[in-house]
Symmetry: C2
Subunit: 248 residues, 2 copies
């Protein structure tokens, strides 16, 4: 058996999320259907770096699977993309060590969140960027970003719906907020993120950008460890799992 690692992009708009659940079509299921076809009816289980929610996108999600097939990487890529729907695209395929694990071996993840800050929406991007009408104070949001960096207990920024029993301490390496024209891009790099953490951080940052909260309140919210103190959960449509890094 060979272990194969794939980097995949997907448009999450029409899916109930990455992971197979009881309701709705999952991205994982679509990939497994394609792999089953390639394996002449034998089911193939894939393991990803982690789930993404309904409506959340990926530019560089990573998964692995084991196969008895001997196919060159380029052919894997071509065959899978032919079998996959046009909102899921395999970017690269490579054979990896049999010990490689897409979830446990990841050393950092990057998420990006895109905001269109303009009086009018752009309907062609409505599923791929969050539209915010009110003029946002980018300086204030940038100031607030600093408080997020470092090792913190992010209990205040974790959905109450989580089934996580363990520690809510995570290390965020870098958070940036950049404006280009009327687009604002938030970038989050960290060792890992809690359920809904990036979306609650963005919802809170937008609240700060609107002047509802002061930048320093980000620090207080983190210290409170209380979900009620933080801002709202930003919608999924602006969020992208951008990149997953592994030790080479």
């Amino acid at each position: 058996m060979k272990r194969i690692m794939c980097v995949v992009s997907y448009d999450g708009t029409n899916y109930a999320g990455y992971q197979i659940q009881t309701n709705g079509i999952a991205i994982q299921a679509k990939i497994q259907v394609a792999l089953k076809l390639m394996h002449k009816g034998t089911a193939v289980q894939i393991t990803s770096s982690g789930r993404t929610d309904a409506g959340v996108h990926a530019v560089g999600q990573v998964f692995h699977f084991d196969t008895f097939l001997s196919i060159p990487s380029d052919n894997w890529k071509r065959a899978l993309n032919t079998l996959l729907p046009d909102d899921i695209h395999i970017n690269s395929v490579k054979e990896v060590d049999n010990n490689f694990h897409a979830r446990y071996d990841s050393v950092s993840k990057e998420y990006r969140y895109l905001v269109l800050n303009s009086p009018e929406p752009d309907l062609f991007k409505r599923n791929h960027i969050l539209h915010v009408k009110d003029k946002l104070d980018v300086r204030a949001m940038q100031e607030a970003c600093q408080w997020i960096e470092g090792e913190h207990d992010f209990s205040a920024f974790c959905s109450a719906k989580t089934d996580l029993k363990g520690s809510k301490i995570r290390t965020v390496y870098q958070v940036t907020c950049e404006q280009q024209g009327d687009q604002i891009t938030f970038i989050f790099r960290g060792s890992g993120f809690l359920y809904n953490m990036v979306r609650i951080l963005v919802g809170t940052l937008i609240g700060i950008g609107k002047g509802v909260h002061r930048p320093e309140e980000m620090k207080e919210m983190i210290e409170s460890k209380s979900r009620e103190k933080a801002g709202i959960t930003a919608p999924p449509n602006g969020l992208y799992l951008w990149r997953v890094r592994y030790l080479e």
Copy 2:
């Protein structure tokens, strides 16, 4: 009664086209439902500058209607956008002369067609730009564009499905083809266009860009007046009704 003119953008992806027909949901129907709600159940017929096909988009489609309501333009816009789905957006509303007609009074139309010319598709833009893998020769396409400009009988570039009985002579004022990074934009400005004319022109231009035809063959194809001589009909997803002009 007052006559109201609206400029509307829409994402044609999920519609069977602009105009109400026997099958599928039309953009016109969605707008008329919103207007009926505003008119407390009285049906309101809208008249546009012309139809667009299934999957074709608009940045500046124009329509008019008559109303007994007295509402300031900004409130019209806000109310309609609240009632419309998020893939249809009213850009502007103004009261016009009772003789104004969105179709008969238009003096020119601009269509744009977007092509992503790259080895890999961009799945987030799949409904809004045509992906072409093969490297296109932009110079050759630009050369071919010149032959389209002017007054010609465009029978070779009209769908056989047209119900048009009259003349197929149209005046095209300007055709350009510009590349920016991996995006190629075709712009067509003319007095009017036949059914599928822009899509057949683009299909033919792409054939020239791929080297299937020489640029001068565009001239011969137009002169042939034969649909079989021209290229294929390009898919709808890259096409936008960009602007409709009227005499002020």
